[in-house]
């Protein structure tokens, strides 16, 4: 009997989402012990309130950015420019709305959103061309837009903070629908669309194959560079939606601070969720979990009266811990989660194992 338990334990711990789930549960438990009212959700004025709802609502922008980032990372790339795209998108939308005679007109808001969305697609295409056509290293190609994009966002807002007073726009970030924050619905919708597009069609497999080996994929008939181009456009589109949310939440666009460091948080969310930075596999569920973990961490730190900046210390510890646990080399060295002792397994072979198991599983 003990062997079956051990066997099940081994199977459970080998699941890619096991450790992220444990981390999330541990944080929720710690919060509940610290503040017993943490888990309670109450109904007020037809809206649900509670720490859990807050965590999900506040993690919505990060979740959306991270979902786009997941696809980029799955191709072995990285997109550092998402924070700047958030800021540019928010700035354009708010600028257009602030120029309208009637800021509450739905048509005006929709036009603003379309404009900003279109611009974001152009920015994504710029990244895509740099990486897929010119062949620049992704981290550097997107660094260009990360640096210049901040400047562009400030150029659009002329260094000011544009404040608007538009209830339809505000709805995106702080609105309510069916007793729940509207932002949650947007995040869920984005997650479902991406999940359906990648896991219900061959697209996800194709992205993973490009991430595994772009050249081999091209030789087997996949247009690798077109796929790589596509993921950067999708990432920018996700970023701009998150940018709308961030600016709508505070009804103002700040070219300097909107979406600042969101790229780092998004990459963290993706990595915590078990997507390898080397590319070749991805887990959307893991990314959603990762975003929730990061937001829970931030919220807990606020709740415990620790200054926000010091929360970075905890983030550093969590990042290193999760990365170490997931690193094949670390597992191999310490025999963690691996009962079978193989004499000196080459790290590459160990890394390849979970990949093979994971593709059908997710």
């Amino acid at each position: 009997m003990s062997t079956t338990w051990r066997g099940r334990w081994a199977v459970a711990t080998a699941h890619p989402l096991f450790w992220p789930v444990i981390a999330l549960i541990a944080m929720l438990v710690a919060n509940t012990i610290y503040r017993p009212s943490f888990l309670s959700i109450e109904m007020r004025n037809g809206h649900l309130y509670g720490s859990l709802i807050d965590i999900v609502r506040l993690s919505a922008p990060l979740m959306i950015v991270a979902l786009g980032m997941t696809l980029v990372i799955a191709t072995g790339g990285i997109d550092l420019s998402v924070g700047s795209v958030c800021a540019i998108g928010g700035a354009i939308a708010c600028l257009y709305i602030s120029k309208q005679p009637d800021q509450n007109s739905v048509v005006g808001v929709l036009t603003a959103l379309t404009l900003a969305f279109g611009l974001a697609l152009v920015l994504g295409a710029w990244n895509g061309v740099l990486v897929a056509v010119i062949g620049i290293q992704p981290i550097i190609a997107t660094l260009i837009l990360m640096v210049a994009g901040r400047g562009l966002a400030q150029l659009i807002t002329e260094g000011q903070i544009i404040t608007i007073n538009s209830s339809p726009y505000r709805m995106i970030g702080a609105g309510q629908l069916l007793t729940l924050p509207f932002a949650i619905f947007i995040a869920v919708a984005v997650a479902l669309v991406i999940a359906a597009a990648t896991r219900r069609t061959a697209l996800g497999m194709i992205i993973e194959s490009v991430g595994g080996n772009a050249e081999a994929s091209r030789l087997s008939g996949i247009r690798s560079s077109r796929i790589i181009f596509l993921v950067y456009v999708v990432s920018a589109a996700c970023a701009v939606v998150a940018g709308f949310m961030m600016t709508a939440n505070v009804s103002s666009a700040d070219g300097n601070n909107a979406g600042l460091w969101v790229e780092l948080d998004a990459i963290l969310a993706v990595v915590i969720g078990g997507t390898s930075l080397a590319g070749g596999r991805f887990s959307l569920a893991g990314t959603v979990l990762g975003a929730l973990i990061i937001q829970t961490l931030t919220t807990s730190v606020y709740a415990m009266n620790i200054t926000p900046q010091t929360s970075l210390l905890f983030k550093a510890v969590v990042v290193i811990a999760v990365c170490l646990i997931q690193a094949p080399a670390f597992r191999a060295k310490f025999g963690l989660l691996r009962r079978r002792r193989r004499p000196g397994p080459p790290p590459a072979a160990v890394a390849a194992d979970p990949r093979k198991e994971e593709v059908p599983a997710t």
Binding site: I78, I134, G135, I136, Q137, I139, I140, A141, L143, I144, L145, M146, V147, A148, G149, R150, G151, L152, Q154, L155, E158, G159, G255, L264, I267, L268, V271, L277, A278, T307, Q309, T310, S311, L312, L313, F314, K315, A316, V317, V319, I320, C323, L324, A327, P328, A329, F330, K333, P347
Partner: protein, 329 residues
């Protein structure tokens, strides 16, 4: 012995092509300076040039450390935070009335220790440098606010003397001691990269770490060493910054890593590693400094133009590197 001759042959064969980006940067710097000098008469004042060094001394030192890391094909995102943390540690220890030499020693030890730790994790557990140094960045920035939530002024006599001493000629042109320290760091780094075994190993690993390993080079030791060097340079940069501002502030040097990476890239170091020079990095820092000075002189342009121009330059230089790379194939 055969490996050394091989390496020597390879560098001789490489020299013309790997000089192109550095020469382009030099040309750009001269053009920028010429534009400035033709537009503003005060620009040709020698002190303007010296001020670029004074204002960017710490950036220069940190960029030198980053050059080592990028030459091996890695990246170090933690530098900005480590700079801030070192300045904070100096300020808080000096406030606690510790003797200045001891403070200097402690401050110089923290950066390399963190760098060594990150290097070990990168090497032994095969985690991407990007993520490990990102965690290092969070850690160091968190430590800053952990030490103090607000900025701490430095009133120590040793520190203020080093900060305010001016070394110059009788006509009134001067540099600060920080600039001399920065030059010393640059000279040592250039020597190490060009003439020591460690330096050759750095280039070899950046060129192809697999081949380097098969050649019997100490890949692990070198990789850990470059992150330690980067940590040391960040620590020196942090001390120079504390000379420059005479305080330690928890939020200072945010986003500095981007400037540093930009300077290294503009200086012609190839981001995949294996090719680049410390001298190029010096030029890269000077280009950034000159752009800043130009924008300050102009007065009409707002500060965000700096970012846009730097982004544009990054693009141009990466494209240049790429074109050279294609021609090589």
């Amino acid at each position: 012995m055969s490996s050394t001759t091989l390496a020597a042959e390879r560098t001789r064969w490489r020299i013309p092509q790997s000089y192109v980006p550095v020469l382009a940067t030099l040309a750009l710097l001269l053009v920028l300076y010429a534009i400035g000098a033709s537009q503003y008469t005060a620009f040709s004042n020698i002190q303007v040039v010296l001020n670029v060094f004074i204002d960017n001394g710490f950036l220069l030192v940190v960029a030198v450390g980053m050059t080592f890391v990028i030459l091996t094909g890695g990246i170090d995102l933690s530098v900005g935070s480590v700079v801030a943390m070192t300045a904070m540690v100096c300020a808080s220890l000096l406030r606690a009335d510790l003797p200045a030499p001891l403070v200097l020693f402690i401050a110089l030890a923290i950066g390399p220790t963190l760098g060594f730790g990150m290097g070990c994790i990168i090497h032994f557990f095969e985690i991407q440098p990007f993520i490990v140094t990102l965690a290092g960045m969070f850690f160091a920035r968190g430590m800053c606010t952990f030490i103090s939530g607000s900025s701490i002024p430095i009133t120590d006599r040793f520190w203020t003397r080093l900060a305010q001493d001016r070394i110059g000629d009788p006509r009134g042109n001067f540099v600060s001691i920080s600039v001399l320290i920065a030059f010393a760091v640059v000279a040592i780094a250039a020597y190490v990269l060009a003439y020591t075994r460690l330096g050759r190993n750095v280039y070899a690993i950046g060129g192809n770490s697999q081949s380097a390993l098969l050649m019997g080079l100490p890949v692990g030791r070198t990789r850990i060493a470059v992150y330690t060097i980067s940590g040391l340079c960040s620590a020196i940069g942090g001390i120079l910054l504390s000379f420059y501002t005479l305080s330690g502030a928890p939020l200072i040097a945010i986003g500095m890593e981007l400037d540093v990476i930009a300077a290294v890239v503009i200086g012609g170091t190839v981001l995949t590693g294996g090719s680049g020079y410390v001298f190029g990095t010096v030029l890269g820092v000077l280009v950034l400094g000159t752009i800043q000075t130009l924008i300050t002189f102009d007065g009409r342009l707002s500060s965000w133009w700096t970012k846009i121009v730097i982004g544009g330059l990054l693009f141009a230089f990466i494209l240049l590197q790429r074109l050279i790379g294609i021609r090589k194939k």
